[in-house]
């Protein structure tokens, strides 16, 4: 055993703030997995920016020692992209719930993906708006009864895995806090991916979730994609596995592009370098706007 000990331990990423999630919430496992992943990555907390939207899961940046910004509902991705562009050296993480990411902020997701900004986006998908006491969320199954669908939902749910794959995300994975080692490894792999990485975490809502969504049920039914022989570089197969969303819980990497493209920030830097050769000095530009 010649394992090199990481300099940073998981506890180095745990803040003094006590989580106020309901006892039994899946998000406790997510934050623990994140601490482990970050310690394995080895970047100190001051080199990490953690951005979130609004919702139970969006509290997560506060429970880490990284820089955090609990922004406005559905707007975590635009702000995270701005931060990454302003300071590309930062490791930028983004997190939120399924309502925050696929409904209120649903319009931002395709654009973050097509730009391929080097951000890791972790969605804690529990198929319900838990913070506001159990309304129907965009990933809730058809027929689901909630306070806003008392006779059962008549809408088809969004399939986030199919969505992000079709938008062209280079890294798409799914996991659950019922599999802590797997979740931690996937978050680490997502962070290491050079480009936009998406991790859908089936994080059960203990208060408004249904019995079959809870961790006990997940432990009994989840299936590892690697054990099923899935090759994460096979895009078409990834699409096929993604169609099982909502019926079966598959964990692991659905898709990892074998040829990651350039990131948005790298292309911006390249463009800046190319244009700056002939750029006017700042003083000269200001002079052009001076009134005579």
């Amino acid at each position: 055993m010649d394992t090199q000990l990481p300099v940073l331990q998981p506890k180095d990423f745990k803040s003094d703030l006590k989580p106020i999630w309901c006892p039994g919430c899946g998000d406790y496992g997510v934050v623990q997995a994140l601490y482990r992943a970050l310690s394995a990555i080895g970047r100190p907390p001051h080199e990490i920016a953690f951005i979130s939207g609004i919702g139970c899961s969006s509290r997560i940046p506060g429970y880490t020692t990284a820089y955090g910004f609990n922004t406005v509902h559905g707007r975590s991705l635009p702000i995270a992209q701005g931060i990454k562009l302003a300071n590309p050296d930062l490791l930028v993480l983004c997190a939120g719930g399924d309502g925050d990411g696929f409904s209120i902020g649903g319009g931002h997701l395709p654009h973050a993906i097509r730009r391929n900004i080097d951000i890791t986006y972790i969605v804690m998908d529990n198929q319900v708006y838990g913070l506001t006491k159990g309304q129907l969320s965009p990933t809730a199954a058809k027929g689901r009864k909630t306070v806003t669908s008392v006779y059962g939902s008549i809408e088809r749910p969004i399939n986030p895995l199919l969505q992000v794959l079709s938008y062209g995300a280079g890294f798409v994975a799914q996991s659950t806090p019922a599999d802590m080692p797997g979740l931690s490894a996937i978050i680490e792999e997502a962070i290491r991916f050079p480009g936009f990485a998406f991790v859908n975490v089936q994080s059960p809502c203990v208060t408004y979730g249904e019995e079959h969504q809870q961790m006990k049920a997940q432990k009994a039914t989840m299936k590892s994609l690697s054990k099923l022989g899935h090759d994460p570089s096979d895009f078409l197969k990834a699409l096929e596995w993604a169609t099982h969303y909502g019926q079966e819980l598959h964990t692991g990497v659905f898709y990892r592009t074998p040829t990651p493209g350039p990131t948005y920030e790298a292309q911006i830097a390249e463009r800046k370098a190319a244009l700056s050769k002939n750029a006017l000095p700042r003083e000269r530009i200001l002079e052009l706007f001076q009134t005579r």
Partner: protein, 174 residues
């Protein structure tokens, strides 16, 4: 087995003692976390029990650490917390707001069972006789802990006959 990067088959006594210490540390920290959850969610009975478990797990940790220090001094550790996952730490989904003392004890019992199962599963793979002896000792301690928790459960008043769902007011729509 809920460990990563640890070669159980060729574990040295120093690494085994460090691993055992970390298992107790992880359990202690998890009980601390669960006690805090209970405190935040106004469940004092379970909070008090989890705090008691914090003290017990920490006592075990200190004992193991002392043994390690006596045998190996301050020699560098080669195992760390990132390598172990919930070996003796209670699972997060075992706790609830308003949980009873009986449910809190049941959570502790399942953790002791997990720890016992870990050592039982590891033992056939261990080659070093000193490590084998240590793991046998730890396995037997887990049996004692299970017996202690069971005795505590038996001392509790009988569980209410009313199903929990009948007294729960959440979730509203179900």
């Amino acid at each position: 087995m809920a460990i990563q990067g640890i070669d159980i088959d060729n574990l040295s006594l120093k690494d085994a003692l460090d691993l055992a210490t970390l298992i107790e540390e992880e359990a202690r920290d998890r009980y601390e976390e669960l006690a805090e959850q209970m405190q935040v969610h106004h469940t004092p009975g379970a909070e008090a029990f989890f705090r008691k478990m914090v003290r017990i797990e920490d006592k075990h940790r200190v004992e193991l650490e002392k043994r390690r220090h006596e045998l190996f001094g301050s020699a560098a550790r080669r195992v760390n917390r990132s390598m172990i996952f919930d070996i003796e730490a209670p699972d997060y989904d075992l706790v609830r707001q308003g949980m009873t003392a009986r449910e809190a004890f049941a959570a502790a019992m399942s953790s002791e069972v997990k720890a016992h199962d870990f050592f039982v599963a590891a033992l056939p793979r261990v080659k070093n006789p000193e490590v084998k002896a240590l793991f046998e000792e730890l396995r037997d301690e887990e049996i004692e802990h299970k017996q202690w928790v069971q005795a505590e459960i038996d001392r509790l008043p009988p569980a209410p006959s009313t199903p929990e769902d009948d007294v729960s007011d959440e979730p509203v729509a179900h």
